[in-house]
Symmetry: C2
Subunit: 132 residues, 2 copies
């Protein structure tokens, strides 16, 4: 796979707490998002916390997609990290945001694996945006 | 678990290519790192790419730890994301860096789940550092 990648660090607020608390629905939302991003799923792991909260991690051929939810805050921390240079991580993020009924989404975009000098790689901050 | 978390976005360069290309050794390094960070492992998934490269994702009670490797570049993209407010993600990162024999490590620290206003969460960039 291409080395340099796009990593979206995403905070989703005002989500549907029932969705965020349900491992089965979170799993379905993650798979929809991966599909929208035309990513290839290698593995899915979803964990139901007690009394509440879900963690879900999808290993992709293109890297990974993860979510950690706090239903009592209607908040989810999401990461979409895909290798290669295309807009698909944003598509995956939007589908996940829609499925969780997020009212506000904060996105921090980071480029991974940038060769600063021969054999030495860094990440670069691309910017931040808010989607309401 | 605590909501706000520390996310280290890490680029490791000059690593041992034999380590980076071996799923069994990457798995062992990830588990050592999680242990050093006193994190509680829920699940481990490791995938061997062909002809080369490994992806590994460890689901933690405290969030997750992931790696994607490019042995031909001696490079690995690492994420250490742990909830709560303690120095343990740095311990986990250092152990992983040592195990992979990284010559240079670039770290970008991000705080997740910061309440900007009532019910609206964002991430914050804490800073960048280089470890040689």
């Amino acid at each position: 796979m291409h080395m340099a990648g796009t990593h979206l660090v995403v905070e989703m607020s005002g989500c549907d707490p029932l969705m965020l608390g349900d491992a089965v629905r979170v799993r379905a939302a993650l798979l929809s998002a991966a599909d929208a991003g035309r990513a290839h799923v290698l593995n899915v792991f979803v964990h139901q916390f007690h009394p509440t909260g879900v963690s879900g991690i999808v290993a992709l051929e293109e890297s990974h997609l993860s979510i950690h939810t706090w239903p009592e805050r209607a908040y989810a921390a999401v990461d979409v990290y895909t290798c290669g240079d295309h807009p698909l991580p944003y598509l995956a993020m939007r589908v996940l945001s829609q499925q969780l009924h997020a009212q506000h989404t904060h996105v921090r975009e980071i480029r991974r694996g940038i060769e600063q000098r021969a054999g030495c790689y860094v990440s670069e901050a691309v910017g931040e945006s808010d989607i309401s």
